[in-house]
């Protein structure tokens, strides 16, 4: 169990700085998810914590100990890789035991710890098998087992679910969450999937172009995005953005510095013609059963998504529609994309 502290951590490859100073305090036992589009530096940041990449500037502390110059194994961490990185010629037992053997643990202790982890992950029946004889989900469990047997202070996950099919991903997501709560090990989890981020994290870091756009609990980020990027990244379908010059927003009290308004699809309603804040034409509908997504094209060609309960009557495709929403559900962003109304 441990805390992790990043202070102004930076990474450069040559002259090219890819991570521009990240500060983060992770509490003991906390589950932190780093999420962002590909190329935002999230994996690099994780690999710096792991010790697989050097830290160009700033400091990383694990459990109060500065680890910048320590080898990965001395940092008391375990990592789960995207492609599992199981040793193909070793069976499951040896894969899990390898690190313990190098650490010079006794045979009895290794056996006990491997069996304990295997029981926890329900892979006891596969201990004699080679990785290639396992399914994707089973390999994923073995990779987690290899991390668990080390009893590390911190778990690092590098997109561990992205090679699984959709159904298995949902299942493993729950299992990872449960396991982490059960073991209470501080965890850092990298993903590009915002659903994983929302469901797993105690706190989420949204990264964009090497910077942390916002750090907060999943619901905080959803309800109060600090920037246009966060609003657009979190939520599916994403937040709608409307240029302030697009309509009559009289009672919304638009600030003079605001450049665009952000409104979540579920906060928008289709209203009678002439009574809304925006007017457009219904382009197409996506009826998902529980909800219906109504895509409305504004006069300037921008598409707005309205999410309404599936039980409500939906407008016809091709008909004209007005859209309205409440002032309190509006986020205002300036031309740099930063939030201005909070």
């Amino acid at each position: 169990m441990a805390t992790v502290k990043l202070s102004d951590v930076r990474k450069s490859f040559g002259k090219n700085e890819v991570i521009h100073g990240i500060d983060l305090d992770i509490a003991d036992g906390e589950f932190i998810v780093i999420v962002g589009p590909s190329g935002c530096g999230k994996s690099t940041l994780l690999r710096m914590v792991a010790g697989l990449e050097t830290v160009s500037a700033g400091e990383i502390h694990i459990d109060g100990r500065r680890v910048n110059d320590l080898e990965p194994m001395e940092r008391d961490i375990a990592m789960v890789f995207q492609n599992y990185a199981l040793y193909p010629h070793m069976n499951v037992y040896d894969n899990m035991a390898y690190g313990l053997r190098i650490a010079g643990k006794s045979k009895e202790e290794i056996r006990e710890r491997v069996h304990q982890a295997a029981a926890l992950l329900q892979i006891e029946d596969y201990l004699e098998r080679k990785p290639r004889q396992l399914s994707g989900g089973q390999r994923q469990r073995v990779a987690m087992g290899r991390a668990i047997v080390r009893k590390p202070a911190v778990f690092l996950f590098d997109e561990p679910l992205s090679n699984l099919d959709a159904k298995l991903r949902v299942q493993m997501r729950l299992e990872i969450k449960q396991l982490q709560k059960e073991l209470g090990v501080t965890s850092l989890y990298v993903t590009h999937d915002q659903v994983e981020a929302m469901t797993l994290a105690d706190r989420v870091i949204i990264m964009n172009e090497g910077k942390a756009e916002q750090i907060g609990t999943p619901l905080e980020l959803y309800a109060n995005p600090a920037s246009r990027f966060v609003g657009g990244f979190i939520g599916s379908p994403p937040m709608n953005f409307i240029n302030v010059r697009e309509g009559r927003f009289g009672d919304l009290q638009v600030r003079p510095e605001a450049d665009s308004l952000g409104v979540r699809p579920e906060h928008m309603r289709i209203t009678n013609e002439g009574s809304g804040l925006l007017a457009g034409k219904v382009k197409f509908l996506e009826a998902l059963g529980a909800e219906t997504l109504v895509h409305v094209e504004l006069e300037n060609g921008n598409l707005i998504t309205v999410r309404q309960p599936g039980s409500e009557p939906a407008p016809e495709a091709g008909s004209m529609a007005d859209i309205s929403w409440k002032a309190q559900d509006t986020a205002q962003f300036n031309s740099q994309g930063l939030r201005v109304d909070k």
Binding site: L52, E71, L86, H89, R146
Partner: protein, 281 residues
């Protein structure tokens, strides 16, 4: 397995006839050599040449193995074996290590070294034979196993092959090993080496035969008949001047010289195929 392309009637017979003809062309000389190794000297000298084995098999082979002409063939076989195994193992060890260094370590002039190794592909033994002889003679390695083996050990081909294989091994494996606390050499021994098993087996077969079939180099540096290898030894058995060639013994030696490579191919094939079945990709 039933063929994807069905051949019936004349096409089937024709293709078989061509294949049988091809096999016969390869096998007939070997058969002749075998027949010649089982008859007596006068029978060979008198036309027509016999086509069926005679009764001198045991006698000829015993003579070849234990008496020979310049040196007993058993000694030459042993020399060849030492040389072929020495070259095969030496080449594999050196190329594994150099490929490991080139792929997994960042050191100054890494690519320069790689290309230097690669350049030696253009310098086979025959091209550098005189200077190499000079060096080996200077080191006093004439008529020794070291002299037979060491100059032939450096191998760009094998280094290149292992490099290509190591490049296909995912980086995450090395990183996982690092997190598990494995040192570089431990990663090499515990992970990379077992994963290269099939490559090593395949290379061993090729390099053993390469070493076994060396002709020019042993001919040059072994003047003592007891250090002769069997492939060059056959040539040494040919008579000079008016001597009468003991063809049955020479043919027996040829057959004997063929057997170890055949044994290696057959023996390693099992391991090779098993390795292929067990490989990851």
């Amino acid at each position: 397995m039933s063929g994807m392309v069905e051949k019936r009637g004349r096409a089937l017979w024709l293709s078989h006839a061509v294949l049988i003809l091809g096999v016969a062309m390869i096998c007939f000389p070997i058969w002749l050599a075998f027949v010649a190794s089982t008859v007596s000297q006068p029978e060979i000298a008198r036309p027509p040449m016999p086509l069926w084995p005679g009764d001198q098999l045991v006698e000829n082979y015993r003579k070849a193995l234990f008496a020979g002409i310049n040196a007993p063939v058993s000694v030459m076989l042993l020399n060849s074996l030492v040389m072929a195994i020495g070259i095969a193992i030496g080449k594999i060890v050196i190329s594994l290590l150099s490929a490991f260094a080139i792929v997994y370590f960042r050191f100054p002039f890494r690519m320069a070294f790689f290309w230097l190794i690669f350049l030696t592909l253009m310098l086979p033994v025959e091209v550098r034979i005189v200077p190499t002889y000079e060096v080996v003679a200077g080191l006093g390695l004439l008529n020794s196993y070291s002299g037979l083996i060491f100059p032939l050990i450096a191998s760009a081909t094998a280094t290149f092959l292992f490099r290509q294989f190591f490049l296909t091994v995912p980086d995450e494996l090395a990183e996982a090993a690092r997190i598990d606390g494995a040192s570089a050499m431990r990663f090499f021994r515990d992970i990379l080496l077992p994963m290269s098993r099939t490559n090593i087996a395949a290379l061993f077969v090729i390099l053993f035969i390469y070493g076994w079939n060396q002709y020019l180099w042993p001919l040059l540096i072994t003047t003592d008949p007891s250090m002769n290898t069997v492939v060059m030894g056959i040539k040494q058995m040919f008579p000079s001047g008016d001597d009468i060639a003991d063809w049955p013994v020479i043919m027996a030696t040829s057959i004997l010289a063929m057997l170890p490579p055949v044994a290696v191919v057959i023996g390693m094939q099992k391991l090779f195929v098993r390795g292929l079945l067990e490989s990851e990709k």
